[in-house]
């Protein structure tokens, strides 16, 4: 799955072309033209969700839902085993003379355990995948990408016409154009 794939780090990639936008409509138009020209857009960093952008850059469906399902199944299994071991196998308790093997009465534990595992699992995988966990270094291309700027990153390939790509960015209202290579940014 490549969750800890080193390739995810921008530092270890080829030279990146970076365009900074102030306006989301121009960004959408630019992204759309660049994508139609057959250039693969690595990612676009925006301070808030821009609807439709994921489709334009051809983002694949998030794996988070599947992870949630597996976490849920894990949690359910774990809790069922736990309550069976504790309450039936190891130390049966007489509470109000109720039978211990009555599964509906286990439901709250099973339900809460499932929810807990799913919530923690999803948060953990989400942060891990987005390189927001302690110990994983992440490059922030522009500190204002969390404020009022939108940043597009395109990884250069061997046959790529970099000039044309940069021109497309500029024509669609990119306010800054930069290069990022080996951890160093150069303003173009």
């Amino acid at each position: 799955m490549g969750i800890l794939d080193k390739k995810l780090s921008l530092r270890d990639r080829n030279k990146m072309l970076i365009g900074v936008w102030e306006d989301e409509d121009q960004l959408m138009a630019g992204a759309s033209e660049i994508a139609h020209a057959g250039v693969h857009i690595h990612d676009i960093y925006t301070p808030y969700p821009v609807h439709g952008l994921d489709r334009i850059i051809g983002a694949r469906r998030s794996k988070l839902a599947r992870i949630a399902f597996f976490c849920a199944v894990t949690g359910l299994t774990l809790m069922t085993t736990m309550i069976w071991y504790m309450y039936v196998h190891d130390w049966p308790m007489n509470i109000g003379n109720k039978p211990v093997r009555f599964t509906p009465s286990w439901a709250p534990v099973m339900f809460e355990g499932t929810v807990l595992c799913t919530a923690f699992g999803m948060s953990f995988f989400f942060f891990w995948r987005n390189r927001l966990v302690h110990g994983i270094k992440n490059e922030i291309l522009d500190i204002r990408q969390t404020d009022d700027r939108m940043v597009m990153a395109i990884e250069t390939t061997d046959g790529m016409d970099e000039k044309a790509v940069l021109n497309m960015m500029k024509n669609h209202g990119a306010v800054e154009l930069r290069e990022f290579h080996n951890g160093v940014q150069t303003v173009l």
Partner: protein, 462 residues
Amino acid sequence: MGHGHHIEVKQEQFVFSPKAKRFSMILMVLGLIFAGLGIANLGGHEESHAAKTEVAAHEGAHHGEGHAAAAAHEEHTNVETEAFGPRMEFHPLDKPANTRIWANLMIAGYFFLMISLVALMWYAIQYIANAGWSVGIKRIPEAIMTFIPVPFVVLLIALFMGKNDIYHWAHYEHLGLKPSDAGYDPILVGKSGFLNSTMLFVFPSVLVVIWYVLMRKLRSLSAAEDNATKGDVTFFRKSIRFSAAFAVIFGFTISVIAWLLIMSVDAHWYSTIFGFYNFVTHWVTMITIMAFFVAYIKKEGYLGFVTNEHMHDLGKFMFAFTVFWAYLWLSQYLLIWYAQIPEEMAYYQIRFENYKFNFLLNFAMCFCIPFLGLLMRSAKRNRYVLAIIGSIMILGHYHDVWLMVFPGVFGSGMQFGFLELGTFLLFAGVFTYWVFTALTKRGLVAVNHPYLDESAHHDVGV
């Protein structure tokens, strides 16, 4: 939100097509046929039932003035010898054959009244929550909520005709026993301030009038908005205020209605979660019905800007409230199971002993099948999956209401048969006809709603 690509939204006029008319007619005719079959079977059932009756005192004690007290007396002396002391439930199990008809009408009336009310609640919540995505499908709950008076009239007729047989507290009230009499029931007497015939008619009527007035007000605001100029938010603001008023009134009163009309079938029993549980049962059904209408209207070529994204959100609502229904269903049961108080168990005792199949079928139809069926994203975005799972859900929740009433009224020996199915289909036909007619009365798009554009651009992402 994505202003990059502009989506043109124009007013559309819905036409009640002959095909849709035929569909609702077929529902009604099927309903009448099934109900007729059910009624035809009813007579035979009565004879065999009477033949089986063991206690002589019960014979002919169909709540005639003189016989009833004797029957109550007989029943009381019978049960006191039981090992558990005096039985808490007073169930005159011998009912006239037509009780089943009144009980069915009462269930159908209650079910569709709640569906229309919950549609109004949905409409109000969209305003209070400032929801944008649902503006495109706003006309559908707006049409469903106009149905309020029809099921209510049926409900009143059913209650008027059958209350003494449906509610054993009404029958008890009718007996007028004194503390010294045999069969005197202090619990029913204690509850008689709330559970009495005056209350049964006056309270729901007053509430329905209040709800109806608020419904008309919200609808007239919506109509006024259509005729106003684009960008005028006065009616939008006013709608929020009236929605909030309705939500507060409805939130408090809906529980009381559920207690009075449905929970009182087992008058000795009570559950504090019951009102909310009823609300959720109808809420999830209403969302399913709404999804059906949206899917149909889209298939006919209307509302082009309402996309699969909106259907996906409706599917998510169906899925989420399915889980919530199961949560309440189990919570109500588990608390009673743990507490181990005999009179609280009466409700589940009779349902699990005599209606085990229905009890488990209810859980399967309302939770297991929808939960597994709607879990996947692709299922929620697929019209055919939604149609199949949705039909199971609607029938399942109707059966849920049936299971709340019938075991309490008839004791054992009843089944969800032709009459029940027929009543449901008949009502479903009238309901569809009514809603389609209501849809034709307004333009299908709320063109001057401030969030219409947001709804048109609604996108849940890849």
